[in-house]
Symmetry: C2
Subunit: 282 residues, 2 copies
Amino acid sequence: MKKFKRVAIIGVGLIGGSIGLAIKKNRLADEVIGIGRHQNSIKKALKFKAIDRGTIDVQEGVSGAEFVIIATPVGAIVPVVRSIASCLKAETIITDTGSTKKEIVRQIENLLSPDIYFVGSHPMAGSEKHGVESAKPELFRDSVCLITKTPHTKRGVLQIVSQFWNSIGCSRVRFLSPSDHDIIIARVSHLPHIVATALVNSVDKKDLSFASGGFKDTTRIASSDPRMWVDICMSNSKCILKSLNKFNKGIETLRKAISVKDTKLLMAEFGRAKRMREKLIV
Amino acid sequence: MKKFKRVAIIGVGLIGGSIGLAIKKNRLADEVIGIGRHQNSIKKALKFKAIDRGTIDVQEGVSGAEFVIIATPVGAIVPVVRSIASCLKAETIITDTGSTKKEIVRQIENLLSPDIYFVGSHPMAGSEKHGVESAKPELFRDSVCLITKTPHTKRGVLQIVSQFWNSIGCSRVRFLSPSDHDIIIARVSHLPHIVATALVNSVDKKDLSFASGGFKDTTRIASSDPRMWVDICMSNSKCILKSLNKFNKGIETLRKAISVKDTKLLMAEFGRAKRMREKLIV
């Protein structure tokens, strides 16, 4: 595994903080620089020992770094890269942790000079919590990390980024195109989030005391950070709307079956869902 | 706590089996009779020591029982009561474990003679598993049990049934009318089930390997027993359709906000869901 002299992490919340803790725990870098938007988040990241040194000046923070990890909300990733592009030394590797990839990868590949290497990452770990106070070095343990591959991606860089995620705990790294990523993740991550939100918003406050395990599980992700999800919805709107459309058709099939008491169709739909769900290893 | 001489449990699956195990563990009855539809389920219930004696003859099974618990799928509850009504001794108490209450309570109160007492129960515990092999005496520990109260309900009987659920582990017993029960449970239990089903059915098989914790949680209940859920949908169709209608409006609000890129509205909806979800103790 490559050991870095200096790694810069932009965004020191749950994800960025956990990456910092994991790098330090596994001694993957001589120095971890944290870059935050507020002094307060830098102070907290230092207190929790997620970084060695911190600054709110992003250009100063990335200077001299070999590896830059952008762990900001999705909407800030491209602007951040734009603001640091001219301060990076040749052969710097950049990756991100955003939940959408197509727009991000396209824009970043367009704006970087050829001697700066970007590979998009999406570590599929997280929590409905946020902030460096919830960060932990094991956040990525046994998780999947999706890495995007485009005609511009350098093989050696792909390998370094891929090994990095493995070395902080990801048990599986999978490569796919940015657009395939966004289609699939719209279905298995973005759509569930929207559905959970609508589900919570459809109950009355007084109903909550009657909620049991089923409701709790189904709606857990609805307590995630709203700003993060607005960003994701804006960045992957086309794929999300398409998956929502398919979901709505399924809901309409069930609604109609209940309405006309078509028990055969209901049985088939519930049975199909059961067989499908059981294919998932829990 | 009242100790029963003979308790009959009709339906010895996950719920009936767990009730049997809990009665025996807490020594709440001298004898537990299990009634199943097939010899095989009786054999299994005996093997797992969930019952003391078993039969597939429901009339023989309930004979001489002071307390009869019906733990069959929702659709079988009324027919079962109809078939045993004339075999019960005076002052027998009957309860059930069905997830819907209005139709069940109305029909049973109409068909029983005044010296047989029925109180509807809905222990809010369970699992996506089924069968007596998944039963356990602690299934009801710390769970809520909803008990229906109507103008026909005898206060003393209500107390006995309520104490029974407490004594097998339910930490809270709540009384409400059968129709209030069905309205609330449609929202917090039946709707989530339908939504989880449509969610699973909207993904492609090949997407499943990309599913992470969010998808797994949101769809866990979709692997429940299809027959049980067809019964529930038929028995509480009106309330389910109403809650589905409200949910659909919420989905449409989100869909439109994503489509026209109304980030302010999206932020408000995600924020509302987050605040609401955080009121739930997990």
